[in-house]
Symmetry: C2
Subunit: 205 residues, 2 copies
């Protein structure tokens, strides 16, 4: 039997943009059709956090062994702790034809882009770009130095977006979720994907 | 002031697949965010059809003059009558930054693809491909010649899809509409598009 691989969906964006909030909201929706890949970390569980639900909690030596064995799709160190994505779970789920959703930092997303170039990379953007647009259109009501610093920030954000396929503005969590779901639906309708599925089917006969 | 052009959305597919039904349903939805481009034809109005609503009704000599003046984005002749898309309306609407929706035959869609390569081309597919998939998976319950003729039909459909960006299965009209709306939403989130919009904005400053 033929089987088409699932999509690897990567949500990332600048820190503080609300990636975690959007991800939680997506997975609270009853019709979410993709699997969340739980991250692995060496930091201690916080009150109420469960191993295998919020994170896989590992010791530093275990984490470093997994790194050296190539068992992480991506990883990074933040304030003294490792965070990473276990590779085996991602591969097994994709091979079973199901989509996998990662919510990770931009450093990790860049690593995944290199290893999985045909993944679906979504940049969650702060509403600051649209707000800037409104301000520029409104003209003259703000001081030149305020505008200038916002323009600089916008240029930084534009540069970060560069390796992503889609940009979703996080103006409202529910709207951001709708856009992400629309992107996943659309990607499943891409001609190359549908065509491949049917060619696999016809060859399988 | 900068302004980004609208998207040209082209819905096509084999005759009898239900393009007209899907298009009518899309434009009955209250939140449809694109403009329908009314076709021009030389056929006589049917009972209840209004000029400028259902079609622009033209004489054969007027239509041929418009063809010779290059005023049609695409046109074709069916059973003795011309059908086509007026170019000026499409260009003016796109220039104003609004999306335009065309529902046309595959012959016309091929003409539009040549003239507007960055349009959004959606192929409405009959559910026969998925049905075939179910049959092939079910194996042995159908006669070999039935399967063989369906496989041939599937190969024809696959060949037709070739110039499209997306394939939407018309298994149910409401589901097909949801997928088309998701595709339009996703296209507006494409990084190249968002990036261009912001670069235009920053350069405009």
């Amino acid at each position: 039997m033929y089987k088409q691989r699932g999509l690897l969906i990567v949500l990332s964006g600048p820190s503080g943009v609300g990636k975690g909030t959007v991800r939680k909201e997506l997975f609270q929706q009853p019709d979410t059709n993709y699997e969340y890949s739980i991250s692995m970390t060496t930091r201690s569980p916080r009150e109420g956090e469960q191993d295998g639900v919020d994170y896989f909690f590992k010791s530093r030596s275990d984490f470093e062994r997994l790194i050296s064995e190539g068992k992480l799709l991506e990883y990074a160190e933040y304030v003294g702790n490792y965070y990473g994505t276990p590779l085996d779970y991602v591969n097994e789920t994709l091979d079973a034809g199901r989509d996998v959703f990662l919510e990770i930092e931009v450093v990790g997303a860049a690593q995944v882009r290199e290893k999985v170039p045909d993944g679906l990379f979504i940049f969650l953007a702060p509403p600051s770009l649209s707000e800037l647009e409104d301000r520029l259109v409104g003209r003259g009501t703000e001081k030149a130095d305020v505008i200038a610093s916002r323009v600089l920030k916008a240029r930084d954000e534009l540069e970060m977006m560069n390796l992503y396929d889609y940009v979703v503005e996080n103006d409202e969590v529910s709207k951001a979720c709708d856009r992400i779901n629309a992107i996943v639906t659309a990607e499943h309708c891409r001609r190359e994907r549908v065509e491949k599925r049917y060619l696999l089917m016809l060859e399988g006969e």
